[in-house]
Structures are given as structure tokens and as C-alpha cells.
């Protein structure tokens, strides 16, 4: 029998992998992919509790999380394209215009 713990631990592991990706990679595209991984981990939590409580509100909330993820991906990739046309790089180490 699959208990709620299984889903929560899977979600925690996926979220941590996303955090490691955001903190360690230098390619901005892969950082955006790691953020998508973290949003997916949150969705697993919401839907696991929704199933456990026999309440559909968790699934409705997960739809809103997916909406925010789609908006974030569109704007983030727009920023990547704008940045590439200025700096010719996807390496976040070289994008340091506002670094003091």
C-alpha cells in the first residue's frame, strides 16, 4: 500500500534536486528547467494531500501552480532571448551588469 509518506518523500527529493540545479549550474536554461522541477515537486504534494483528504481543492490549486509555471517559463525564456541578443551568452557568470 502506497502511503502519503512515499509521495511526500518523493516530492522532497525532487524539490532538493531542483534546488541543487538552481544553485550549482551556470547555464541559465538549465536553471529555468530546475525551477520547473521544483514546481512539479510542489504539485505532487498538493495532489497527494488532495487524494488523501478526498478533497478536490488541492487539484484546483495545482492547476494555478501550473498556470504560474507556464507564465514564468514564457517570461523567463523571453528574458533569456533578450539577454542573449545583448551579451551573446547563456552563462550566468557573465551576466553581471547589475553586480556591484
Amino acid at each position: 500500500m502506497v502511503s502519503l509518506h512515499h509521495y511526500l518523500i518523493l516530492s522532497a527529493v525532487l524539490f532538493t534536486i531542483g534546488v541543487i540545479g538552481v544553485l550549482t549550474r551556470r547555464n541559465i536554461l538549465i536553471i529555468l528547467m530546475s525551477i520547473e522541477l521544483m514546481m512539479n515537486a510542489v504539485n505532487i504534494n498538493l495532489i497527494a494531500f488532495s487524494g488523501q483528504l478526498q478533497d478536490v481543492i488541492g487539484q484546483v490549486f495545482a492547476i494555478f501552480v501550473i498556470v504560474v509555471a507556464a507564465a514564468e517559463a514564457a517570461v523567463g525564456l523571453g528574458i533569456v532571448i533578450a539577454m542573449f541578443s545583448n551579451k551573446e551568452t547563456v552563462n550566468i557568470g557573465e551576466i553581471d551588469l547589475m553586480k556591484w
Binding site: 500500500m1 534536486i17 551556470r26 528547467m33 522541477l37 478533497d55 514564457a74 528574458i79
Partner: protein, 177 residues
């Protein structure tokens, strides 16, 4: 027993592909492994009887967001990034931070495990079928958040168009005026 086997199958694929997403050198390989992760998460949604969310996951994430990623990887030549260092200098500190994070999350799950037991089948679904149920709740109780989400998407569309517009065309129109 079969549930457990299916869960471990999808969970293993999801975790292994997620690790490959953040360790591959090429962004295209990362995108493909991200597709594997997202599809297995859709499988986990199916095993939780959230059929509508599983469909939305496949359509929006794999069919929308991931295709957008692949398009941007195609537009932005990442050849130079292939020969550079993959990780930045604060990698060790990042791993320590992530270890602390997973320890905290694990401790939270361990300590809270007693409160995860809910009365089984407390509330029966009011209507038949998961999609119908989600739709009823979404359009009756959560109509205002739904409309706000649509405005958020509109703003994101306009923002993406403005951001990815070439700066030279803006200069020309400014000169023309």
C-alpha cells in the same frame, strides 16, 4: 502490491531523470530528461486518481513549456557552453545547503507522520468523474482566482512579446517618429 510497484517505477524514473537534468552538459539532453521526469510525474498523478491533472501535465508541461524550452535552445546557440565548466564555484556550499534542506524536509515528514492519517473516504465526490469534479469546484468556488490567473497569463504573453522583440526595431520606430 501492484500500486507500490507502479509507484516505485515512476518515482525511480522521475528521480533518476531529474538528477540527469541537472548533471548533463548539453541543454538539449537536459530538456529530454526533463520530459521523462514530467511524464513519470504525470503517471504518479494518474496513480493518485487525478486524471485531469495528469492530462494537464502532459499537455501543458510536456506539450507547451518543454517545447518552448527546446525552441529557445534552438534559437540560442549553446555550442560555447558545451566546452565550459558545468558548475559554478559555490558548488560545495550549495550541496551543503541542499543537504540541510533535505534533512529539514525529512525531519518534518518524520515528525508529522502521525498527523497524516485521515479518515478514509470522508467526503464522497459530489459528481462522477475527476474532470467534472475539478471543473465544478473551479468554476463555482474559485471563479475569481481563475479570472485572475487568466489576467496573469495575458500579462505573461505581453511581457514575453515585449522582451523578445528586437531592440533595433524599437530604435527604428523611434527614429521614424
Amino acid at each position: 502490491m501492484l500500486e507500490l510497484v507502479i509507484f516505485y517505477l515512476f518515482a525511480t524514473i522521475a528521480v533518476v531523470s531529474a538528477i540527469l537534468v541537472i548533471t548533463r552538459q548539453s541543454a538539449v539532453h537536459s530538456a529530454m530528461f526533463l520530459a521523462a521526469t514530467l511524464l513519470s510525474v504525470a503517471g504518479i498523478f494518474l496513480s493518485l486518481q487525478a486524471e485531469f491533472l495528469a492530462g494537464v501535465q502532459v499537455l501543458v508541461y510536456v506539450g507547451g513549456i518543454l517545447v518552448l524550452f527546446v525552441f529557445v535552445i534552438m534559437l540560442v546557440p549553446t555550442d560555447r557552453a558545451m566546452f565550459e565548466r558545468r558548475y559554478n564555484r559555490q558548488g560545495k556550499i550549495a550541496l551543503v545547503t541542499a543537504a540541510i534542506l533535505i534533512a529539514e524536509l525529512g525531519y518534518g515528514v518524520y515528525r508529522g507522520s502521525g498527523s497524516f492519517v485521515f479518515p478514509a473516504g470522508a467526503i464522497e465526490p459530489a459528481v462522477e468523474g475527476n474532470s467534472q469534479w475539478v471543473g465544478t469546484v473551479l468554476y463555482q468556488n474559485y471563479l475569481l482566482p481563475f479570472e485572475i490567473a487568466s489576467i496573469l497569463l495575458l500579462v505573461a504573453i505581453i511581457g514575453a512579446v515585449v522582451l523578445s522583440k528586437k531592440p533595433s526595431t524599437a530604435d527604428e520606430s523611434a527614429v521614424g517618429e
